[in-house]
């Protein structure tokens, strides 16, 4: 069934995006209903696909229009794509659920849902694209809708943040397009599998490094790696909370990390053994992000901005894992993509829920919410613990595997730094927990009411997921993460899987 219905991952949200303007005008809550139905369908379908693969199903190569992989557009659904699609939709559904109440203070409900559906279509499309130009097209669909979503409030701050984000994002997109054009000029194909064979035949020339460099700049901007990060804190601060959750939890990972790792490992076929310089560069960039963004996060007085910097530092962790390049480090990086997306989605939604009730984003202005908003507060605490890497939450195991990978690759100092900055993460999360959620003795708790049901439901879903991925890390590892890691470490096996033979 998966072999036949694979395009539905993209087609259903696109159809939703075109249906919502028609239905949402008639009765505005129809937009909510259609949006959430699409989200639920995508979650169910991605879980179904994952189970099919885990039970020994073969990776699916779907030829659009029955043209075959050499002539037409292919969608590829292997373990790595399955993981990424699952993440995108697992965070997408709670965000949609949260949106139902979040949008109460905005007009233009159907516009929001249309853009959100396009964002989901783009994210799923990037994860499934089997040729490099469609990857770019889906990347742009997701990016353009995210620019508009960041500025959805159309206040002064929102517009500025959106414009700044758009300027950086579009330069990045153009970089990616240039490198795609150059790759096509060299290999005369756009299919990633064929391209990897052609590049393998050509060997490592300066041309390859040039293309890789332009691509790295483009994707590093998309994933907000440290020298290219400056759009992210503003964008997170201004975006509606569900969009922040998707942006930080999924968007940077799919558009930046997934696309880059797919191209580096499966198309260029690089490994630490064949290209140590490039992987050391990744380690350097990852470390830089990890250290500097963590230190910047400590200084923030705005709890949403703090979370944004925390996202940048966690992206540093993931890139560090890929840069170390050993099997367990890649497993850890992929696990961290999964764990962090759920965790950060949870934290953004919870902090928006706090802001909604108290009307303030400053850490010093609120205190003692644990009494008045218990569910929100404890969800936030669960997210913070997971982010800091406290067992039994998902964040613990992902960081553990990155550290294990560093030790296995005999990079002990990297292991030490990774462990140390896990403590720093705990530090800045404790700053929020101590000041905002628990009351200091000399201060009255801020008056607030508990958030309404759909918001709480979204939070609880994400807490349960963060716990489930932590407690059940063994089956998650065996059936989801390790097959995905094997796709990456398998390198050029990808070409054989897509083209056969």
């Amino acid at each position: 069934m998966l072999t036949q219905y694979l395009p539905l991952f993209v087609v259903v949200p696109l159809a939703g995006a075109f249906l919502i303007p028609l239905l949402g005008r008639a009765w505005r809550y129809l937009a909510d209903i259609v949006g959430n139905l699409v989200g639920a369908f995508l979650v169910a379908f991605s879980i179904y696909g994952l189970v099919t693969l885990a039970q020994g199903g073969q990776p699916v190569v779907y030829s659009l229009g029955s043209w075959g992989p050499r002539l037409g557009i292919v969608l590829v659904y292997d373990s790595l794509s399955a993981l990424i699609v699952l993440i995108a939709n697992l965070v997408g559904l709670p965000a949609l659920l949260f949106s139902t109440r979040y949008l109460d203070r905005y007009t233009g409900r159907w516009k929001y849902y249309t853009l959100f559906m396009l964002l989901l279509a783009g994210l799923n499309g990037v994860a499934l694209a089997g040729d490099i130009f469609n990857l770019f097209v889906f990347l742009e669909i997701a990016a353009v809708s995210s620019y508009a979503l960041v500025a959805f409030g159309t206040g002064e701050e929102e517009l500025e943040a959106g414009f700044k984000y758009m300027v950086m994002g579009e330069i990045a997109g153009m970089m990616v397009l240039v490198s795609i054009a150059l790759l096509y000029a060299r290999t005369s194909t756009l299919n990633m599998a064929e391209m990897s064979r052609a590049l393998q035949a050509a060997g490592q020339t300066p041309f390859v490094w040039f293309v890789l460099g332009t691509m790295l700049v483009g994707f590093a901007t998309k994933m907000a790696l440290m020298p290219f990060h400056s759009w992210l804190p503003d964008a997170h601060l201004s975006a509606p909370a569900p969009v922040s959750a998707v942006l930080s939890g999924v968007f940077v990972k799919v558009l930046g990390i997934y696309a880059m790792s797919r191209i580096v490992f499966n198309v260029f076929g690089l490994t630490r053994a064949t290209a140590p310089t490039f992987f050391n560069l990744l380690v350097g960039l990852g470390l830089f992000s990890l250290i500097v963004a963590s230190l910047l996060a400590i200084n923030q007085n705005n709890y949403k901005r703090l979370l944004a910097y925390s996202t940048i530092s966690q992206i540093g962790y993931i890139i560090l894992g890929f840069g170390i390049g050993s099997y367990w480090a890649i497993v850890g990086a992929l696990f961290h993509i999964l764990g962090h997306s759920v965790t950060k989605g949870l934290l953004f939604l919870a902090s928006r829920s706090i802001e909604r009730e108290t009307g303030s984003r400053e850490i010093g202005a609120i205190s003692g919410l644990e009494k008045t908003m218990p569910v929100t507060s404890w969800s936030y605490i669960a997210g913070a613990l997971s982010l800091a890497g406290i067992p039994p939450f998902a964040g613990f195991f992902s960081k553990l595997f990155i550290i294990v990978g560093a030790v296995a690759a005999k990079m002990y100092w990297l292991a030490i730094i990774a462990a140390l900055f896990s403590v720093v993460t705990m530090g800045y999360m404790l700053k929020v927990i101590n000041n905002v959620l628990f009351a200091r003795k000399d201060r009255e708790p801020t008056k607030a009411r508990e958030a309404p049901f759909p918001i709480l439901a979204a939070l609880v879903i994400l807490v349960v997921l963060a716990l489930a991925f932590g407690i059940g890390f063994r089956p998650v590892l065996d059936s989801i993460i390790e097959p995905a890691a094997r796709v990456l470490t398998g390198g050029l096996e990808y070409a054989r899987m897509v083209l056969g033979g």
């Binding site: 620019y147 500025a151 002064e156 414009f163 700044k164 579009e170 997109g173 005369s188 756009l190």
Partner: protein, 112 residues
Amino acid sequence: MLPFAACFLLFLLGLYAVVLKRNLIKMVIGFSLMQYSVNLLLAFVGFRHDAVAPIITRVGMTDNFVDPLPQALVLTAIVIGLATTALMLAFVMRIYEKYKTFDITEIRRLKG
């Protein structure tokens, strides 16, 4: 090599406008320049000597065609460029409504 150098030059011109110009509209024009340069690059990639446009105008035609794929890519890139330019202009208009100016130095309220 010369066409590629020209593309690169055009790209740099666009980048210069985006990064250094103070007027928002000029930044958008810079973006358009960058898009055109990438489109031009894609079109050059498909070029072949002594070839004709890949359109079949009579039955059984087997001339030497230029590579049609980059042209399809250019078309797609133009569509994407249209969407981004329109959105960017919308941003600029809304910013102008708020601030009554196109000067970016008077607008920058957010920092790094």
